[in-house]
């Protein structure tokens, strides 16, 4: 599903955010990406979401080579991607329903289809009864769930999350992770960047660890610490 081949990212400031990272993530895998802040997690996610382009090396996602992606193709590429943000990035000038519907209206879905899919996604995250509310009145956990509903409403093959539990207490975090696990169970590839090592250890999934732009660990931590 995801293939990084000797990927290097050097920002214009001359700083190497990623150096020769190679990795492979299979379809329907669930993988955690961890590391200190500044280790290159965000850069890796930005490359994956075509916000940044690699300086060297190639990235292939779902058979599509991101190096060859023209600017005009980026929107279409992103439609196959579900992105969950740490600060959930909801729009407070519209209802929960309209927030979740955004990816669908962007890709030109019919009204009926939008209604059906948005309700299915909201039902999945347990917020169907709040579809008419403004997200600003929801709790942090609920807001994040709306963000997740928005990320999955397009039925993406790949779900990318950047610190999805960053601001949540352990119990809520656990709930959110449970949701990701459910999506993964039906075949969605899930990549979650997080620094919550305790939580990651409990999930018992594959972990990638970055340090100063290098991939220093790739495996399944059972008892051994990630780093």
């Amino acid at each position: 599903m995801i293939q990084f081949d000797n990927v290097n990212k050097r920002y214009e400031s001359g700083q190497d955010a990623l150096g020769r990272v190679s990795l492979e993530i299979d379809r329907a895998e669930m993988v955690f990406l961890t590391g200190h802040s500044g280790a290159g997690k965000s850069t890796l996610l930005k490359l994956l979401t075509a916000i940044e382009r690699p300086t060297r090396g190639s990235i292939i996602v779902g058979g599509q080579n991101l190096n060859r992606l023209r600017n005009g193709q980026i929107p279409y590429y992103r439609r196959n991607l579900g992105i969950v943000f740490q600060n959930h990035q909801l729009l407070f000038d519209r209802s929960v329903f309209d927030n979740v519907a955004l990816p669908l209206s962007v890709s030109g879905c019919s009204k009926r289809e939008v209604g059906r899919r948005v309700r299915a996604a909201l039902d999945k995250v347990g917020l169907l009864h709040k579809e008419k509310q403004n997200p600003i009145v929801l709790s942090g956990g609920e807001q994040q769930r709306v963000g997740i509903a928005r990320a999955v409403v397009n039925k993406p093959a790949l779900l990318v999350a950047d610190e999805p539990t960053g601001n949540l207490d352990p119990q809520l975090s656990e709930e959110i992770m449970g949701l990701f696990r459910q999506f993964n169970a039906v075949g969605t590839t899930v990549l979650i960047a997080s620094h919550d090592l305790e939580l990651i250890a409990r999930m018992r999934q594959r972990v990638l660890t970055l340090q100063q732009g290098q991939l220093i660990y790739d495996g399944y931590p059972s008892r051994e610490p990630a780093y």
Binding site: I83, Q89, G108, K111
Partner: protein, 337 residues
Amino acid sequence: MNQRIKPSPARTQPQAPERARSTGAVTARTGMGDRFGSWLGHHREMWRESWVRFFASPMSSGMTALVIAIALALPAALQLGLTNFQKAVAGWDGQPQISVFLHKRAKESAVTSFADNLRGDPLVAEVTYISPEQALAEFQQSSGLGDALIGMDSNPLPAVLLVRPRGSDSASLEFLAERLRASALTDSVVLDMAWVQRLANLTELGRRMSLGLAFLLALGVLLVVVNSIRLHIENRRDEILVVKLVGATDAFVRRPFLYTGLVYGLVGGLIAWLLVSLGVWLLAGPVRGLANLYGSGFRLGGPGFTYLAGLAGGAALLGLTGAWLAVARHISAIQPR
């Protein structure tokens, strides 16, 4: 429940080599007709939404529209005034007239045959013969100096031929006048053309000035729209970032702003038309009075429906262009970081 979220089969099958994959294949999940329908739907929705947004902040939108309206009403009023002026003088501009004053001793029969001769000339449209007696009678009637003439023992006025030429370009007029002058019967020829030229020049001057003004003010309108749309874009920055991240194309992001520019222009043009109409309504009374005093049936023509269509359409186009300029400059600068 899980089935509804399950990725569609098309997306879980092995992908073709990346070279063969086009953007079309990626987005083929929604049918072509469906996509066109929703594209149209988005246009409709943005059109509706831009009106909602316009009236959601009536003060700022209204002010922008009013600035546009005033800037457009000025040249529009000037243009209308010019049209009216041309209409008012239409009765006496087009046809220049050549007055041929004949020698006092010219025989009437010679004059008549000269006139007949002239009537056969291809350059001449009409010849009117005014005998000295007719001229005297007319002079007495119109000048009020009749009493002064009674004391004279002979008629001081010569016979006159009023020649209306067929063409009105100055070269052929001069040529005709020269020929008339050459006749032995002619005492003098007055080609009353200077004022015709003066009028034409004045009208042309007014037309060009109003065009120049219109151009400058249209530029002003453009800048006003660019600035308002820029503010709109800034206000909706977060939204733009989010929709770009969920796969919005630039066209999708641009659309609401283009419609907003269109609405600004349209409303501005409408108000401009109302302003001009109001002006005409206020001036119609005095103009009618003035025309009556000059014995003319002239009435001030208001900005009609075609004027409304032209003004609103032109303004809408200006609004759209301004929005394009703003959007082209500012939206591509907003990229997720």
